[in-house]
């Protein structure tokens, strides 16, 4: 297989938690703790997990909004920590983001044309006419007519705003788009439009996606591969089909058990795990999932499992296998 567009090796981000007065020794929140994955050209990697599992921190590290504590992010074979000047700008052009809420991610004071043109003005030497032409081009890509260019975001519905955000992400020579829950804030009837549009764009342009979400069915639908995160670690990563048909890690199983049925006659899932995600400040010893795990063994509270090849394809970090 060709070398990946983006590869993440041992990615780690620890945040210093507030220290108590007179109490030295910082506590660390291990938001992301040794994460490895790769995204290939034209591929969608889904990242699922509950709040606090580190999926948003991972995306911030990729978007250079946070600096990793350890580990490396390789973009087309080069460590992005070494990038500077023009090469850094090229990375920022190539990696874009679409956020969850299109009501807050678009400036209410800018016209749609200016919102989409902004990255072009910063990153390219295009003439004004060329920029205008490119704006119309990307609007067309996301299925919006050219006459929306002079409008303001408030004149659009949620789905159309999200199209504008996608158009902005596509304006430069984009290779990877981080999609942070891009459909969660939209009406149900509009979600399918956006998902289909994203899939269509990927087929047409060969762009890669990192799709962050918590709705299992949506993530499984759009992703080629899925990584499941729990408390800063990837506990299982595999092809979307393999993961949905045969989840192996007890946490992945629990996520599927908690997924809502698509029909009232779907057999009820037998067990939904109890309890809540523990605080990232006080991580459980051994396997981070063991306090909630229905199949925990003595070893689970002592030794932290590492990712190992699982049946079929992918990897799983669990002492059961």
């Amino acid at each position: 297989m060709a070398s990946p567009v983006l590869e993440v090796r041992g990615l780690t981000k620890h945040f210093a938690a507030r220290q108590r007065l007179f109490k030295r020794g910082a506590a660390w929140v291990k938001a992301v703790d040794g994460v490895d994955f790769a995204i290939h050209s034209g591929e969608t990697l889904g990242l699922i997990g509950e709040s606090g599992c580190g999926k948003t921190t991972t995306s911030k590290l990729i978007l250079l909004q946070e600096k990793p504590t350890a580990g490396a992010i390789m973009f087309e074979g080069r460590d992005i920590a070494d990038l500077a000047g023009a090469a850094l700008m090229a990375y920022r052009r190539a990696v874009q983001v679409v956020f969850q809420d299109p009501f807050s991610s678009l400036s209410p004071r800018m016209r749609v044309a200016d919102i989409i043109a902004e990255p072009l003005e910063i990153h390219t030497q295009l003439s004004r006419d060329a920029i205008r032409g490119r704006v119309v081009e990307v609007l067309d890509l996301v299925g919006l007519p050219p006459d929306v260019a002079p409008l303001f975001p408030h004149e659009f519905s949620g789905g159309q705003r999200q199209r504008v955000a996608i158009a902005r992400a596509l304006a430069t020579d984009t290779r990877l788009i981080v999609l942070d829950e891009p459909v969660s804030a939209l009406d149900v009837s509009v979600r399918a439009q956006i998902i289909n549009q994203l899939e269509h764009l990927q087929r047409m342009l060969g762009v890669s996606y990192l799709f962050i979400g918590h709705d299992l069915a949506t993530v499984a639908h759009i992703s080629h591969r899925i990584a499941v995160m729990y408390l800063g670690k990837i506990v299982e990563i595999a092809d979307s089909d393999a993961l949905s048909t045969r989840p192996m890690h007890p946490y992945t199983k629990a996520l599927f058990a908690a997924a809502l049925p698509s029909h009232p006659d779907d057999p009820p899932h037998e067990r939904v795990i109890a309890g809540e995600v523990p605080s990232a400040l006080h991580l459980p010893s051994g396997c981070r999932f063991h306090p909630r795990c229905p199949s925990a063994m003595p070893i689970c509270s002592q030794v932290e499992p590492v990712l190992q090849p699982r049946d079929g394809n992918g990897e799983v970090a669990c002492h059961l296998y």
Binding site: V188, I195, N196, H214, L216, H221, A259
Partner: protein
Amino acid sequence: MGGSGRPPNPPTPPGGREVRPPASADVRAPLSKDPHAPILDVANLQTHFSTFGGSRVIKAVDGVSFTLHEGETLGLVGESGSGKTTTCLSIVGLLPKAARIVGGEVIFEGEDLTRKSQRELRRIRGRRIATILQDPMASLNPLFTIFRQVAEPAFFHQQLRGRSLRERVQHLLRAVRIPSPEWRAREYPHQMSGGMRQRIVGAIALAGGPRLVIADEPTTNLDVTIQAQYLDLLKDIQRETGVALIFVTHNLGIVAKMCDRVAVMYAGKIVEQAPVRELFNDPKHPYTRALLGSVPKLGSKDPLYSIPGQPPNPASLPAGCAFHPRCPEAVPRCLTDEPEDFHLGDGSVARCWLLKDGVARP
């Protein structure tokens, strides 16, 4: 409760713990003795918003009818602006100033709630009808302890004090599976996780021993495993108490899991109402079919059906059937005439001209 000086409500019957509130002395229609009578009967409810001094009228709820029996769960499904939340606010009489119920009735246990004064409604809300809203942090007061907030309905509606009040609160917290309730009752909302806060709101809703709970997207802000726990909890509570539930949601998965019957709303009207199995197996209205087809299903990579266009603006609805601009099956009649309710054999009711002659499918 800190012996607060707030006046307790005027004559409410001295409440025993599990005593269902007997009728207060005011004038009310005699309760129907028919055990099959619905708890709630909403008939042709119309709630309009008027803006610009009445020059523009928005028909947020336009002729909504449904009934709900004891122990039954109705799912109210729709997109933003479809009128599902306004329907609920009309039932409990908590409409914003600009909105007014202009027609129809809301019969709850034999009484028409639309004719009640706010004072009478206050005695019903929190006791016989309770609500659970989407954002628990907005429903809880950050300055009061959990105890005070859970105790409030029992304090005002059932006049519990002292030890019996404390016991009642602990009983409620245990019912919603709050671990170590005697401890947790002394804490404040910010000390709880999102799932726990929503369970506290559930405890407050149960405090008055309600016959009807209206839950407006109660799990939207929760993680999937916490959502599953919460939904299971609501089901358990319903089984124990026989409370009737209205579940407002846009998530068809929640409907499949929780509801006995479903009402699909579009542009202020119920376009289809059916038992949950009939709705999923044989959706009658094109909008319902489109909604079901647009939801990704686990294990299927088939392209999703995408409904063209956007939900309509309630201020300027299209003529005829409000769904016709987005409907793949629209016929000329849909552009001009508004469809009426068509009753179909399997208990479904749908508003679509295609169903006129009992034909289920074009």
